[in-house]
Amino acid sequence: MPRLIAGRLAQMAATLLVVSALVWLVMGLMPGDPADLAMMADPALTAADIERLRAAHGLDRPLHERYLAWLSAVLRGEFGFSRLYAVPAARVLWPALGSTLVLLGASLALAAGLGTVLGVLAAARPRWAPAVDALAVVAQSVPGFWLGILLVILFAVTLGWLPAGGSADTPGLVEALRFLVLPVATLAIVNLAAYARHGMAATRAVLREPYIQTARMKGLSERAVVWRHAFPNAAVPVLTVAALDAGALVSGALIAETIFARPGMGKLIYDAVMGNDYNLALLALLLASAVTMLATLAADLGQRLIDPRLRD
């Protein structure tokens, strides 16, 4: 196990390094470097001022030199500044990470819980299977941003029950939860299908096992057979799907945060890219990637922990 963890962590570090280098290269092709932006903001700047600005920002040095300087600073824990928010980048990154983890955690719990229960129900009661199947196809195919808009139209515009977006400006748990409902619902629904499908397949397989027959022969009620004996074994795929879908979940968070104007990593990446704040965009992208890979690793380890057959 420790070998496995060390290997995976090394692979994570290598992936992050490659991504940072490639994105740094690509950023050279993006519109608006700091000197261009300063020139746009202040028409009085002369060519000599721009030369001095470029030298001050190190923009006159070649791309790879700037990358190595940036990398060594980041490895020393100096994340530099955010152009868009005019504060040290770390001051924007950590609160955004916290907000996104809340959104991801709540959506994951809802998607995995609801999806698995639906899958088990469909396997145990064949009458329900077509409905769950249809729901899974729709949930898998619906674009998250459209679902979000529809939920806003229904619950914020028509019924007026929930806020259409933003974040709570008055403190208090209830207020914060009200702002969380629609983003979590959107993200959970688009991620629920895989859990339902895997839950259904796993329960069908488990229900054919001899120990289920034994439980039935003991005279247990069908309810006890399904929920006490079959369900725990059919729940293992939850972690498989969680490991496979961590990237999709983080991608969905970008959409949900953008539609609902909810501060978080996804919206930060989007705003930073749109606002030419490339240092912040790169850092946020690397942080989001690290979170995704750590979640995948945690799910893989969890799977080995509860399923002895996976250990070698």
């Binding site: 692979q11 994570m12 195919s141 941003f145 459209w146 808009i149 990237g247 890219v273």
Partner: protein
């Protein structure tokens, strides 16, 4: 069953996309010219789905958007499937360190969150690469390239797994013994036998590409207005949820139908191929 259901969803959409210019001629108006006196029109004989915030016909814009979305989806599927199948076959056949290196790259890419990366890649200014910018055709080409960069991975893994199984079979040994060259073994004997799973992966990658294209266009990084695409129509509709909520229904429904159609098609194919 699923196969037919998928085709039943996709064919009308594809037919509508192909027939869009004739439908435009039949209705007798142009979905690209604003008509500011006819904004937010209700459904009528002239405008079967009503008009949008600039008085343009929603039905025609959805159909012209279908041309873009289906074109991007199919192009990405063809490019990603071709690239992925080639990489998968090569990795399975070559083995050793090239196989290990390619699969580590694939693992790394699958572990990353795709949409944040696509957002960063889509922000590249194609003008700096000497390409035309701001035209619908160049937007489509740019999207196909960046979506293919991510799309080949899933296909490659599937193709590799299938090819590994096939390469271990007796008919491959028999072909080699009877003097067939390696290229002939791979292309004439192994490739046809991995075509099934690769076809399923291709159908799924159409669905993924349509979703990703519409998400990027929705975020303003894909197809740029005034060219209609389902994603950028929804971006306009989102700003109007309070004044014209119904404008958000049709483009989203089109995405749902297209993606569900491809997913069902892939499921149906999977049940049929061995």
């Amino acid at each position: 069953m699923r196969l037919w259901l998928g085709l039943a969803l996709l064919l009308p959409l594809a037919a509508g996309a192909v027939a869009a210019p004739w439908i435009q001629a039949a209705l007798g108006h142009d979905p690209f010219t604003p008509d500011l006196f006819g904004r937010h029109g209700p459904p009528s004989a002239d405008h079967p789905l009503g008009t949008d915030e600039l008085g343009r016909d929603i039905l025609l814009r959805v159909l012209f958007g279908a041309r873009v979305s289906l074109l991007v989806g199919l192009s990405v599927a063809v490019a990603a499937t071709g690239l992925g199948a080639a990489v998968g076959l090569f990795a399975a056949w070559r083995g050793g360190w090239p196989d290990a290196a390619l699969m580590r790259v694939a693992d790394g890419m699958l572990a990353l969150p795709a949409l944040p990366l696509l957002v960063v890649l889509a922000a590249v200014d194609t003008g700096r690469l000497g390409l035309p910018r701001g035209e619908a055709a160049s937007d489509i080409a740019r999207l196909v390239v960046i979506l293919t960069l991510f799309g080949w991975v899933g296909v490659a893994r599937l193709a590799r797994a299938a090819a590994l199984t096939e390469l271990a079979r007796d008919y491959v040994a028999a072909a080699r013994v009877s003097g067939a060259g390696e290229a002939r073994v791979l292309l004439r004997h192994v490739a046809p036998n991995v075509a099934g799973p690769v076809l399923v992966a291709a159908a799924l990658s159409v669905a993924g590409a349509i979703l990703a294209e519409s998400a990027l266009s929705f975020l303003g990084l894909g197809i740029q207005p005034p060219a209609p695409s389902w994603g950028n129509m929804l971006a306009n509709a989102q700003e109007l949820v309070f004044s014209a909520p119904l404008a958000a229904v049709w483009p989203g429904l089109a995405i749902l139908v297209a993606v569900a159609g491809c997913t069902l098609l892939a499921d149906g194919l999977r049940q049929r191929v061995p």
